[in-house]
Amino acid sequence: MADQRLEPVGNIIDIKHVSKWFKDKQVLDDVNLSVKKGEFVTILGPSGCGKTTLLRILAGFETATEGEILIAGEDITQTPPHKRPMNTVFQRYALFPHLNVFDNIAFGLKLKNFKSDIIEEKVHRALKMVGMTDYEHRDVNSLSGGQQQRVAIARAIVNQPQVLLLDEPLAALDLKMRKDMQMELKEMHKTLGITFIYVTHDQEEALTLSDTIVVMSEGVIQQIGTPTDIYNEPKNCFVADFIGESNILNGTMLEDRLVRFMDTDFKCVDEGFGCNVPVDVVIRPEDIYIMTPTENAMLTGKVTSCIFKGVHYEMTVVTPNGYELMIQDYHAFEPEQEVSLIIKPSDIHVMEKERTCNTFGAVVEDDTHIEMLGASFECLPHGLEKGTEVKVEVDFNKIDLTDDKEDGVLEGNVHLILYKGNIYHLTIVTDEHDHLYVDTNDVWDDGDMVGINIKPEDMRIIHD
């Protein structure tokens, strides 16, 4: 009880240091999140990032391996789902096939022993809210996908939960229907005043609906912020790449407000990184000005493709030194056309690099072999004793990937691909769940199985 008073006022949900393991696989890693009452929070991430698991832990269908969850200051980490003050809208609707629309919606109310006239009134109101009046006695199997989803929403909100959990509720609907439902959900959120926790992999949906977006990847929260924050100030390459279109480039922060990328110095507005620090640079395709060749151009290049996208054209421009940029503009420039490019300092977004090379923990096996990442690697003679623990650094571009996984010392899957203008930056996950970061010019696909090799001379063995 004493703890309850210490909780910050206004937070309806507090997720504290929540981790989740399925057997030996970690799906959530130290997740911390606070949600204010009445907020519309979207948990956004690619499939397998742990967003659904987080929602299921909130609903009570899974229990957190570590950490705690508080609702309005009250610890509910071990509370079973039927005692939690929240309701869920499931991705595949999960309507009871043996009940009609009315009985589906009344399910929760009947369990709470409401009087039948009150139930009737509440169900009518919920149906009106989702625009399904007169459907009470319909068989749920005779409804379309959109109608089933409306019934599912009505079934949840009729209980007036403190928090409404929505697990990709619109994923199964077609585009037009999805857009309509988005607007209706937003409207509903306004009128009901209930806190919405919405899980989706659709970044556009997240930007449209939310007050706050939580971007997740690999079980870790990458960034929490308003849609504009997330879009304009992405914290790392993953967020920049996942939200909207972007050009991500390797750069160097020369000094405050001066960054060098694509072999050119640019003025920017970022400071505090230090001098000559490697950074990632993000430029949104709509922030690059494209024009016929002029004197004061910052960059020149040649258009290689131009696609009409409805409102704008999407063009690819290659600079003389081989960098590719994606540009969106209302004016079309035909392929093969020479163009000039201008980027405003405020449109250059500089991000700290999460890492500049691979670092692995390793153990010396003998003078020419070390054990790391669960395999034995050949290395240059180092004169260290067997069993010594060392660190090994390998540059991104010094890891060789082979098509045939048998050819590698180690096997892995391509997990994430970032195009950095002239090079692909891949994240490889090994069978032991270790991560390797590789720069390559070869084209790989997400999920490809690869063999991994590292040459002895490319390993820097650090012993301290």
């Binding site: 079973p80 789902p81 499931f90 096939p97 043996h98 009940l99 929760g108 709470k112 949840a156 209980n159």
Partner: protein
């Protein structure tokens, strides 16, 4: 020409013909014969006396009623024993491997007569007298897997999301069972009943063996009559009556399937 032959051999109907022939010879033809014999006396004259005999002579009718009673009791016992078993088996957390299911289904692999004979010797060894109790035990033991399997099958097919949805809406374990799992498992119970109730009425070997031929079920009566040439027509009539009753119950099953989904909500 070659194309025509090729088309003939690649048609689906061509491939079905061996079985259709089998069906005509061994199912349809005997059915017609039963129908004909049922309306004939042993000299081959047309008559309905076989049917009036069934109503007038209490023996066959009584056996029939008794058989139905035994079938009902057996079916109830099978449901009582089989439903919880199927429910436990369908719980994936409890039943991680399929071995347990196999163990429950295994008796289905052993011939029903062999199982019955084994039951008889089991009663002999333990010194429990054979009779109605032994018959009920034997019937339940023989038909239990046929009840478990369909229920288990429907239960494993229940969408796990529905159970979570019910929990989410405030249902505890008991309420989830009563309001979701039970109504959705009813189709399985119904096919279980079909698989147990109907064969029990017409069984004869089991009742002969387990009651030392003391209690006779409807199947025994039919068998006895068919074996003798002068009552063969009466046996045919009895078969026809049983067929009709089975047919009517099956129709009832079909018509109830549509309303099944709605009915479940009332429970």
């Amino acid at each position: 020409m070659r194309q025509k032959i090729l088309r003939f051999f690649t048609r689906r109907s061509t491939w079905a013909s061996p079985y259709i022939l089998f069906l005509l010879l061994f199912v349809v033809l005997p059915l017609i014969l039963i129908g004909l014999y049922a309306f004939m006396d042993y000299e081959g004259r047309f008559t309905v006396s076989n049917f009036t005999k069934f109503i007038e002579q209490p023996e066959a009718l009584n056996t029939f009623i008794y058989s139905v009673g035994m079938a009902i009791v057996t079916t109830c016992l099978c449901i009582l024993l089989g439903y919880p078993a199927a429910y436990i088996l369908s719980d994936k957390e409890f039943n991680t491997s399929k071995t347990l299911v196999l163990l429950f289904i295994l008796p289905m692999w052993v011939n029903i007569l062999i199982r019955t004979l084994a039951t008889v010797s089991l009663f002999d060894i333990t010194g429990i007298p054979l009779g109605q109790g032994a018959l009920l035990f034997g019937l339940t033991y023989d038909f239990l897997p046929f009840m478990i399997y369909p229920i288990y099958n429907t239960m494993t097919k229940i969408d796990k999301n529905l159970i979570e949805a019910a929990q989410d809406l405030g249902a505890n374990h008991l309420q989830v069972f009563v309001k979701v799992i039970f109504p959705l498992s009813l189709p399985g119970v119904l096919s279980g009943i079909m698989m147990v109730f109907l064969p029990t009425i017409s069984t004869f070997a089991i009742s002969e063996l387990l009651t030392m031929n003391d209690i006779r079920l409807f199947g025994s009566i039919i068998q006895e009559n068919i074996m003798l040439s002068d009552t063969m027509n009466y046996g045919a009539a009895l078969s026809l009556i049983m067929l009709l009753i089975i047919g009517i119950t099956c129709l009832f099953d079909n018509s109830s399937k549509d309303s099944q989904l709605n009915q479940g909500g009332l429970i």
